[in-house]
């Protein structure tokens, strides 16, 4: 079982405060979605949680331990796709998946069955011998997801996973997240599509100007209206002299 937590995490890019003392937690079996406008800090938060960017203050904790101290065995249970999907253009689909599996610690003995399973799962069989450079955007996204999840991780972090996907792909990703969470995985996902999140997330946190400014009930009605009310309220609060959230 895995969990991940951001503890008062902060990151500046120059003078720009990208993430501001943000707290967030994802537990086993939970799908925690984060939504926000462009530049709200979602990707920076995910990058800090994966050790790609170091926080200026606060901590990113993986199973209660600082991400910077995570061992290879811990990372073997983590799968992520943040911004650009994995995929080397000169390699075929199957070669890319095998490469991703090897880097994620899948043993040589398990490689053929693991690769076949994930290619089938993401319906990439038709293109398995095609070079990644020749794939459509949607299939490159599917390939990236297949590579990120080939080793059946227990902690999944996905940044805008449904980007470029066709409706069938969106349903596939949604089913996959639900399936993995039901099996005990912790899932953190960001998206701009509120209705998509409503169908799958257990919790939806709204991020604005680097902070969590509130939550939206995924079972509630008119999520879009709730989202903009929260954002508007935060902006009004900011003009009055600072965040209260």
């Amino acid at each position: 079982m895995m969990s991940i937590m951001a503890e008062s995490i902060t990151r500046f890019y120059g003078d720009d405060l990208a993430v501001d003392h943000l707290d967030l937690e994802v537990g086993p079996g939970e799908i925690h979605a984060i939504v926000g406008l462009n530049g709200a800090g979602k990707t920076t938060l995910m990058r800090m949680l994966m050790g790609m960017v170091k926080p200026d203050s606060g901590r990113a904790l993986l199973n209660g331990l600082d991400v910077a101290a995570a061992t290879p065995a811990t990372w073997a249970d983590v799968g992520h796709m943040i911004e650009t999907p994995f995929g080397y253009p000169e390699l075929t689909v199957i070669e890319n998946v095998r490469a991703a599996a090897r880097l994620r610690g899948v043993s040589a003995g398990e490689l053929p069955s693991t690769t076949t399973a994930v290619i089938e799962r993401f319906e990439l069989g038709r293109w398995e011998d095609r070079r990644a450079r020749a794939l459509s955007m949607g299939n490159r996204q599917r390939l990236g997801l297949a590579c990120a999840l080939v080793h059946r991780p227990r902690l999944i972090i996905l940044d805008e996973p449904s980007n470029s996907l066709d409706p069938a792909g969106v349903v596939l990703v949604r089913d996959l997240m639900r399936h993995e969470a039901d099996a005990g995985a912790a899932v953190l996902v960001s998206s701009h599509h509120l209705d998509e999140l409503a169908r799958v997330a257990h919790r939806v946190s709204v991020i604005h100007r680097g902070r969590v400014i509130g939550a939206i009930d995924p079972d509630g009605i008119d999520m879009e209206r709730n989202f903009f009310e929260l954002v508007h309220g935060a902006e009004v609060g900011l003009r009055k002299g600072g965040f209260d959230a």
Partner: protein, 254 residues
Amino acid sequence: MRDALSVEFLKLRRSPVAWTASLLLVVLIPALCFALVSVVEGSGDGLLAEKVRALVSGTGWVAFSGLLDQFAASALFVGVGIVVIWCFGREFSDRTVGSLFALPTSRGIIAGAKLIVVAGWSVFVSTMVVVVAFGFGLAGDLGPLDSAAIEEMAGVLTVALLTSLLASTLALPASIGRGYLPAIGAMVLILMTAQMAVLFEAGAWYPFAAPGLWAVSGNQGDFLVTLPQLASAPVLALIGAGLTVRWWQSFELV
């Protein structure tokens, strides 16, 4: 490490950049040098023959290996350098670097695997340059393949290997510069400073110039290159490799 080596070897095998560089280096260097030696060996007294005679000393295998030394010292640095720059810079230019974080295979190991795979490839290419050169020399009847000729060609292989090692240092600017262009700039700068060092008779002390100078001068006369000076090339390559691995282990995305 085995997994990272396997992945990096696959990427290099599928790389059009590596294939193009291999073909150009292995075929063009010996072919061009042989063509130039043929001009000298012939009875022509045209402008080209005059210019080439100024570049070579001796005849037959000696002249051929002398030209190979000069070409290998610069062409291999550029050719191997481009592959090194591609290998490291592509992760940033193709935006694949983010996927190399949060893995059980550390980024330091991935960088080490890249260096080992490129080093293996450059040893193969350097050896093939000499093998193909032998082929040209034997087919073109450059004289008996005696121990002196073999010694000359062994010198070419030494220069080729040392030059390839030096080219591996370009991994560091390709990494820190996060792409191709800063490393290309570093390569041009190194070539220029090597020329300047030779011009001011300090080439033996400059690791990037020492192997070429050692080969071209025949290690005689005013251009004596001592063993420690020659050894500075692999030492610099090792320092570069260490710094590159260390940088990859600790860098963050920006």
